[in-house]
Subunit: 254 residues, 2 copies
């Protein structure tokens, strides 16, 4: 595809190193427009802003792309870009690069992935990218070639309708990455453990914390691929129907 239009967003905020790297990688592939949150939006899932108003600014950052910062969630960014900023339908929407994993169950909490899913709902091609490194100075350059190749392949081979990609990249040097595996979402969950504290006025308050519990050692699960040094790609859909149980439940509930 010649000079595709690529919309870039994320959930860590428009100035995060992860999105700036992704923008640079996409500038070498097509025309780039960035519409991303003006503040960190991690863990916002598929939230939309309906009880507050939104504002946006065009801001000037290094590179040939255009950058717009929005006072909303990642999903708001996709909706706003399509309605108010883009003058034609983008050929691809990419979200990330997230600072930290969005593998397995994290896909449902992730603002990064929810932006990609929203693009899918809008009928667009979309990919979310995440690096398994939470640090602000993570080395995103190791993943550059892999990310550019995945994007080029998707531009050449459209994704099945109703499907977007969840790409997670291990924290490894480029030549230590073993390759790419297309996977299913591992069965995993967070075991929550709220951290209780007392404020200066004597009132209890809580921070959400917890630990990650992977309950799945399947060869085809994304956590397994990542642990073995592969980039995992899970095709994600937004038809949440458990089609396989419709018949059984009709017998019980109708």
């Amino acid at each position: 595809m010649k000079n595709p239009l690529i919309l870039v967003t994320n959930d860590d905020g428009i100035t995060a190193p992860g999105i700036r790297n992704l923008v640079n990688f996409m500038n070498e592939i097509g025309e780039v427009i960035v519409v991303a949150p003006n503040s960190p939006q991690s863990g916002k899932g598929h939230a939309i802003t309906i009880n507050q108003t939104l504002t946006f600014e065009e801001i000037s950052l290094e590179g040939p792309q255009k950058d717009y910062s929005l006072s909303g969630t990642p999903v708001d960014c996709v909706k706003f870009a399509l309605d108010k900023i883009l003058t034609r339908k983008p050929d691809l929407v990419v979200s990330g690069i997230n600072h930290g994993a969005n593998s397995s169950i994290n896909v449902i909490y992730s603002g990064t992935m929810s932006a990609a899913v929203e693009a899918g709902v809008e009928g667009l091609q979309a990919i979310g990218f995440s690096l398994l490194d939470f640090s602000w100075d993570a080395d995103f350059s190791q993943a550059k070639e892999y990310i550019q190749n995945i994007v080029k392949k998707v531009l050449e081979n459209p994704l099945p309708k109703g499907t977007v990609l969840n790409v997670n990249i291990p924290k490894l040097k480029k030549d230590e990455i073993k390759g790419i595996k297309v996977c299913r979402q591992a069965k995993a969950k967070w075991e929550e453990n709220f951290d209780e504290r007392i404020n200066p006025h004597g009132k209890k308050y809580y921070w959400l914390t917890g630990y990650f519990n992977n309950m799945d050692s399947g060869d085809d699960a994304d956590e397994t691929a990542l642990a073995a040094g592969y980039i995992s790609i899970v095709p994600v859909k937004f038809d949440l129907t458990a089609h396989e149980h419709l018949h059984y439940l009709r017998g019980i509930l109708e």
Copy 2:
């Protein structure tokens, strides 16, 4: 099941008529504990609160149940209840009754349904209930018998693992409701149309608005059942993998 423990939550806030009706219906079935947001959380999807702290209060409302109000999202409420409030695993988690539909694609934006999904991720039986009436004085009593029957059936016949129920109830009198249909999620989307305004300082701001576009007239779709006067029940899963496309995508991407 004798005197089951039922956790109740919602996204409209702990004092909304929808949840107060649901609490009353559940008090006739088991022991009820309510952990619900202290403010409206509609459209919050699967958001969790990680960059702010949470507080909670036990509050006194009419009825034998215990009520706890939390300063977080619906998903936070489920996590907090399990970690800090409940002393044993609940037999069922019910969320709602939402003021307004959560059928078709609305399942992914809905805080009500995300609370039910989070309970499913935790390995619990869970049901989200929504009435197709946004008004604060909607008549929830018409649905009482249907809701109690669905709850009793689920307590007697556990849902398939990894599945929760999305129940939507048409705005009809009890004897006008035609029955229950177990359905798939209809293919539908919101066409966004941000409403642009100017604040007193001359700056533009936006409200997210739009219209609902149902693109699915299938007999087995939830929107079809609701339009025909049935209660729709969609089994919802949180394994978002598009298993049916793994083979094709391996050919392209690995």
